[in-house]
């Protein structure tokens, strides 16, 4: 047994010797020992995880090579898109945009007081960690799951989708925004507090003016994300363009699918560039 432990120790020490970089000697004789590179730990872990994933997902390179070409066959069938189908998608497209707009506004608005409650400004430690904990759990729910739950409660349709987007935005905005609150300059807060204001009043008058720009920017960022989210919500029946997309794809009417994807891409690009421009001006 003792011999075995000695052997393991020997192996480890010789490995350490192998990966330790040679000491550097300065011209005045001082010796500096460089640290062992973290790569010796990171590379084996990443390699292991990659190999494990490949065997787990049965990822097959030969399949990719043999069938991958089909992707381009399907894309080519979408071209030219069926422009005549446009009248059928304009309403669901607008409804998709409105779903994400309304959902984002509601979610972002609700997030404000809860971000305050999660921040260091909340004096109750228990309260702060309770709120943070609740939202950590709530954030683990993907938007599609939220949509399915909303549909069970409210029935299929755009309302369920809007609700799902609002809750989703709400939970992530709370985290994003409370972290911003905690980086704000606390000096003005102390000043307003010392004038006899309540903590809420001091927060509103001294912290929020520092953060409005970033708050609107975060909201717009969420809007961008939610447009893409809203487009897939239709797959589970929660309204928007996704319903039409799923249906046309199921029927394999590729020219119609082509038009839907084209309109979707243009919409996302337009909204993203508007949002980016506003955010650039805000910050």
């Amino acid at each position: 047994m003792a011999a075995f432990i000695a052997m393991i120790k020997g192996i480890i020490s010789s490995m350490l010797k192998w990966i330790t970089p040679p000491p550097l000697v300065l011209s005045n004789g001082k010796v500096v020992r460089p640290a062992i590179s973290a790569m010796w730990i990171i590379v084996p872990i990443i390699s292991f995880l990659t190999l494990w994933s490949i065997s787990m997902t049965r990822f097959r390179l030969d399949m990719l090579i043999r069938r991958g070409g089909q992707f381009f066959v399907i894309v080519s069938r979408m071209i030219p898109p069926n422009y005549a189908y446009f009248d059928n998608i304009i309403t669901p497209m607008i409804s998709t945009i409105l779903m994400s707009l309304v959902g984002t506004i509601i979610g972002a608005g609700l997030a404000l007081p809860f971000a305050y409650a999660s921040s260091e400004l909340n004096q109750s430690k228990i309260g702060k960690f309770a709120v943070r904990g609740f939202f950590s759990i709530a954030r683990t729910l993907p938007v599609l799951v939220l949509a399915v739950i909303a549909m069970i409660i409210f029935g299929a349709g755009a309302f369920a989708g809007t609700f799902a987007i609002a809750i989703f935005t709400f939970t992530i905005m709370v985290k994003m925004f409370f972290e911003l609150i905690d980086t704000a300059d606390m000096g003005p807060f102390e000043a307003i507090l010392s004038s006899g204001a309540s903590r809420i009043q001091a927060f509103w008058t001294s912290i929020m003016p520092q953060l409005w720009g970033q708050y609107y920017s975060l909201t717009l960022y969420n809007l961008e994300m939610n447009i893409r989210n809203a487009a897939i919500l239709g797959y589970v029946g929660a309204g928007g363009i996704g319903i039409v997309l799923a249906e046309r794809l199921a029927w394999r009417v590729y020219p119609d699918v082509g038009l839907i994807l084209l309109v979707l891409m243009i919409t996302v690009l337009v909204i993203e560039s508007i949002s980016r421009e506003i955010r650039r001006r805000l910050l």
Binding site: P188, A191, I192, S194, G196, A202, T205
Partner: protein, 255 residues
Amino acid sequence: MIQFTDVVKRYPNGVEALKGVSLTIEQGEFVAIIGLSGAGKSTLLRAINQMHTITSGSLKVNGVEVSSLKGKSLRRFRRGIGMVFQSFNLIKRTTVIKNVLAARVADMSVLQSLLSFYTKKDKIIALEALDQVGILEKAYIRADQLSGGQQQRVALARTVAQQPSIILADEPVASLDPVTSAQVMNDFLRINEALNITVVANMHHVDLALKYARRVIGIKEGIIVYDGPAEGINRETLKEIYGRDLTEDELKGEK
């Protein structure tokens, strides 16, 4: 009147910042507190408006035992005490007038302050306060556009707009150049005399403290080692407060 009786402040980490402080400050006095960094100047100042709670002893402001105040009554009490900071603590991303108006939110309902609903009377008070410190024309400029001296005047105006009976100043000129420092100290003196507001200021600059304050309190390791008129301060007393002789430059607060 501010009345300390055997006030002790012990921080949770065990540091005793005040070790039994007793002193009385009458309404309308201009008091400078001098001493090394960490001697307890800041703690002394923040005890007066309960930004720091005291561990034991009695601290009365205008006859009210400060440590008995909580919540709403504490906030109402704080309205009567203005505070000015070394780093000004302005809300930099907003205008000068809004900074001054921020001192009014304590008198407003939560809903009013959420909507930033300031009355005409509030605005007049704010503008008059800015006029007092001579920067009325900067009212609608963003606070971060102003120089350090101007920012400290805005902070002073914010405090004046609060219409306090006491102003606590925590190193009000420590980050300003000598000329600007003198201007800001003059503002303090004018407000002290014109409105009979008590001023209690922590000062690094011994020469400024002696020039503007009529009364000087020297504090060392949480104990008051000098309390008397500015004229009574000499080499010996300074040595006692700072632990060694000060050079000419150090008196002026320069390194």
